[in-house]
C-alpha cells in the first residue's frame, strides 16, 4: 500500500537541494565565519592601539615608569609619541605587530623575546586542555546520565569546589605537598622550571625529566579546568535525557549504554565543544598565574615579569597575541560545531 507520490510533492521543502549541498555548506559556513572573524581581529587591533595611548596619565611616564632609559631611547620615544594620534595610528596599522620595537626590559626586539617563551606555554596548555577536556567530559557524562547517584553527587561536589579554587593557589598547595613535602606527603616533584639544568632535552633521561617537571603544573591546570567541563557536560546531558528521541531509541530495543553513546552524548557534546574552545580566554589567564607559581618559562611568566616593569611594548604584544588566539579559537569553535550539527549549516 503505497501512496501516490503526487500526494507527497506539495509539502516537500527543498530537501533535495539542501541535502546535495552538505559538503559545500560547511566550507561556505567556515568562509563566512572567517570573514566575520577578520572584523573582530581588526577591532582587537584598534583596541590594542588605543588602550595604551588614550588612558589617563603621561604616556612617557607610563613607558618609563620605574625604569631608567638612556637619553637616546627617551628622545626617540618622545618623538614618536608627540606625533598626531592619526599618524601614530597609521604607523601602527602598517606594523601592528611592532616587529622592530625593543622590549624595555630585555633590550631585544619584542617578538624575539616572545619567540623564546612560546613553546613551553604551548606544551603546558595543550597538555592541560586535552587532559581536562577528556576527564571533565567523562565525569560529566557519567554524572549526568545517572543523575542523583552517589557518583553524581560526589563528583558535582568535587567539581564545584575545584571550580571555586584560584588555580594558582591550587598550584601552590600542590607544590607545598609534593615538592616541599610536609607531614605524610612526599616531596618528590621539582619546584620549578622545565628541566633539570645540564640534561640533554632530547635524551631519554631528559624527556623523562621534563615530564617530571611538567607533572605538577599540568596537574594544576587540568584540575582547574576540568571542573567547568564536567559541570557543563553534566547539565547539558541532563537536559538531553528529557528529549523524546531517546524514548524512540529505547523503544527500538537499544541497550541503555548504546542509547547514551549513540544518541544522547553526541547531542549533549555540542555546547561542551563550544565551551572548550571559548574557554581559551580563561586558559590563558590560568597560564599566567600558574607559570608564575611554577617558574615555568612561558608567556605567562613573561607577562608576570612584564607587569613588574612595566614593560609596555612587551605587554602590548602579549595582549595582542592572546586576544588573537581567542578570536581564532572562537572561529574554530563555530566551525567545529557546524561540522557536527547539520542544523547550523543550512
Amino acid at each position: 500500500m503505497t501512496l501516490a507520490p503526487a500526494d507527497v510533492a506539495p509539502q516537500e521543502p527543498s530537501a533535495a537541494a539542501r541535502s546535495g549541498r552538505g559538503r559545500g555548506g560547511l566550507a561556505s559556513y567556515a568562509g563566512r565565519r572567517l570573514l566575520s572573524g577578520v572584523g573582530t581581529m581588526f577591532f582587537v587591533l584598534v583596541f590594542n592601539f588605543f588602550l595604551f595611548r588614550l588612558l589617563p596619565g603621561d604616556p612617557i611616564a607610563l613607558y618609563t615608569r620605574g625604569r631608567n632609559m638612556d637619553r637616546d631611547q627617551l628622545r626617540e620615544l618622545r618623538r614618536n609619541l608627540n606625533q598626531p594620534i592619526g599618524t601614530q595610528f597609521i604607523d601602527y596599522l602598517r606594523n601592528p605587530f611592532s616587529s622592530g620595537v625593543d622590549s624595555t626590559q630585555f633590550s631585544r626586539p619584542v617578538w624575539d623575546v616572545i619567540g623564546d617563551y612560546v613553546w613551553p606555554t604551548v606544551v603546558l596548555l595543550s597538555t592541560a586542555t586535552v587532559l581536562s577536556a577528556v576527564i571533565g567530559i567523562a565525569i560529566g557524562i557519567r554524572g549526568g546520565w545517572k543523575r542523583g547517584s552517589t557518583f553524581d553527587r560526589t563528583s558535582t561536589g568535587i567539581t564545584l569546589t575545584l571550580y571555586a579554587m584560584p588555580e594558582f593557589w591550587l598550584g601552590m598547595v600542590l607544590l607545598i605537598l609534593f615538592s616541599t613535602g610536609i607531614g605524610p606527603f612526599p616531596g618528590i616533584f621539582p619546584s620549578g622550571g622545565t628541566i633539570t639544568p645540564g640534561l640533554d632535552p632530547w635524551s631519554l633521561k631528559g624527556i623523562l625529566d621534563q615530564l617530571w617537571h611538567l607533572a605538577l603544573p599540568a596537574a594544576t591546570l587540568t584540575l582547574a579546568y576540568l571542573a567547568e567541563y564536567a559541570l557543563v557536560m553534566r547539565s547539558s546531558l541532563v537536559d538531553e535525557t528529557r528529549q523524546d528521541y531517546l524514548v524512540t531509541a529505547r523503544a527500538k530495543g537499544l541497550m541503555d549504554k548504546l542509547v547514551r553513546r549513540r544518541h544522547a552524548v553526541p547531542n549533549a557534546l555540542l555546547p561542551t565543544i563550544t565551551l572548550v574552545f571559548l574557554n581559551i580566554g580563561f586558559v590563558v589567564s590560568g597560564a599566567i598565574t600558574v607559570e608564575t607559581v611554577f617558574s615555568w618559562p612561558g608567556l605567562g611568566l613573561l607577562s608576570y615579569e612584564a607587569i613588574r616593569g612595566p614593560d609596555v611594548p612587551l605587554l602590548q604584544a602579549i595582549f595582542l597575541l592572546f586576544s588573537l588566539a581567542v578570536v581564532v579559537a572562537n572561529i574554530v569553535a563555530d566551525v567545529v560545531v557546524a561540522a557536527v550539527d547539520p542544523r547550523v549549516r543550512t
Binding site: A15, A16, R250, M255
Partner: protein
C-alpha cells in the same frame, strides 16, 4: 489468540509531592488485524498506557498487572527478552512532528537502526537499502534517507516514524497521537496509511488520540479513558452514536455535526478541567463535572458494567453489572 491483552494494569509515578496514579486498573484487548482507539484528554493516562506496553515507563514509576503480548507478560520479561520484543513484536509510532528523531543523524540511518539491531539485515548497506524501501512504502521519496530531520515537514516526519515502526515487521503497532500537530489534509493521509497497514499486513493497531473524530473513522473498537480508568468501551460506532457514559456523550457532543441544525443550538463542552491524577475526588472521579451525577456518585466509585453486547460503561446509570 488475543494479540494484546492488558489485565488490570496500574501505573503510579513517584514524585516529590507523593505517588501519582496515572493509570488505575485498565484492562483492554486487541485481536490481530483489528484496530482499537483509546480516547481521552491530557492527564487521562492514555499515553502512559502506550508506554507501558513496551515497558518504557520512567524508572520512577511502579507498574502492576499483566501486559500480555501474544500470551507473554511483558512486565515479567528479562531485559534481554524485552529488548528483543521491542520493535520486533510491537512498535510505537511516536509523534514525529516533535522531537522524536535524533537531530544529528540522517533519516536513513535512524530507520535502518532497528533493522540492524534485530537482524533483519546483516550489513549496514543492506539495512540502509531496506530503510529506503520502507520510506517508499509510506509514500516518501527514498532519497529523503540522506536528509536530516530538520529538513522535513511535520507530515513527512510522521511518515518517517511510521516507516520506522514497520522496519522489523511487528505484529502490533501503537500510534500515539499520530495526527496531532498536523494539517487536516495530512491527517487524512496518515490515517489512510495506518488503516491500509491493518488491511494489507494484518497487524493489530492501537490509536491513541484526544480527537474522537479521528478515532471514529479508523477504529473498530473504541475505549474512552478518564482519570486513569477506562470509563467506556465498545464498538466505535456504538460508543460514539449511543454513548452510555456522560463523559463520552460530552466528548462526542463537542464535535459539531456540520449541516445538522439541531447541533448548532445544543449546549457543548464541559465545565471544569480533568482532575489532576494526584488529587482525585472521592467516589466517581467524573462526578464534579457530570450533568447526571446523583448522590451515590459522590461516595461510590463505579466499575465497568455491561450496557449492551460488547459495550461497557462505568456509570451508575448503566443497569447491569459486568460478570468478571
Amino acid at each position: 489468540m488475543t494479540l494484546l491483552q492488558l489485565d488490570d494494569v496500574s501505573v503510579t509515578y513517584r514524585t516529590a509531592d507523593g505517588p501519582v496514579p496515572a493509570v488505575r486498573g485498565v484492562s483492554l484487548d486487541l485481536e490481530a488485524g483489528s484496530t482499537l482507539g483509546v480516547a481521552g484528554e491530557s492527564g487521562s493516562g492514555k499515553s502512559t498506557v502506550a508506554a507501558t506496553v513496551l515497558r518504557l515507563n520512567p524508572a520512577s514509576s511502579t507498574v502492576t498487572g499483566r501486559v500480555l503480548l501474544d500470551g507473554e507478560d511483558v512486565l515479567k520479561m528479562s531485559f534481554g527478552q524485552l529488548r528483543a520484543v521491542r520493535w520486533a513484536e510491537a512498535s510505537i509510532v511516536f509523534q514525529g512532528a516533535l522531537h522524536s528523531l535524533n537531530p544529528l543523524q540522517k533519516i536513513g540511518r535512524q530507520v535502518a537502526e532497528p533493522v540492524l539491531l534485530h537482524g533483519q539485515a546483516d550489513t549496514r548497506r543492506g539495512a540502509e537499502a531496506m530503510a529506503r524501501e520502507l520510506l517508499g512504502q509510506v509514500g516518501l521519496p527514498p532519497r529523503l534517507a540522506s536528509s536530516y530531520p530538520h529538513q522535513l515537514s511535520g507530515g513527512q516526519k510522521q511518515r518517517v516514524m511510521i516507516a520506522m515502526a514497520l522496519a522489523c515487521g511487528p505484529r502490533l503497532i501503537i500510534a500515539d497521537e499520530p495526527t496531532t500537530a498536523l494539517d487536516v489534509m495530512v491527517q487524512a493521509q496518515v490515517l489512510d496509511l495506518l488503516t491500509g497497514l491493518v488491511r494489507d499486513l494484518g497487524v493489530g493497531l492501537v490509536v491513541i488520540s484526544h480527537d474522537l473524530s479521528v478515532l471514529g473513522t479508523t477504529c473498530d473498537r473504541l475505549a474512552v479513558m478518564y482519570a486513569g480508568r477506562v470509563v467506556e468501551e465498545g464498538p466505535s460506532a456504538d460508543v460514539l452514536a449511543r454513548a452510555r457514559h456522560p463523559y463520552t456523550r460530552a466528548l462526542s457532543a463537542a464535535y459539531p455535526t456540520i449541516g445538522d441544525p439541531a447541533a448548532r443550538f445544543s449546549p457543548r463542552g464541559l465545565p471544569g478541567d480533568p482532575p489532576w491524577p494526584g488529587d482525585l475526588p472521592a467516589g466517581c472521579p467524573f462526578h464534579p463535572r457530570c450533568p447526571e451525577a446523583v448522590d451515590v456518585c459522590r461516595t461510590e466509585d463505579v466499575r465497568l458494567r455491561l450496557a449492551a453486547p460488547g459495550h461497557q460503561a462505568a456509570c451508575v446509570h448503566v443497569a447491569a453489572e459486568v460478570a468478571t
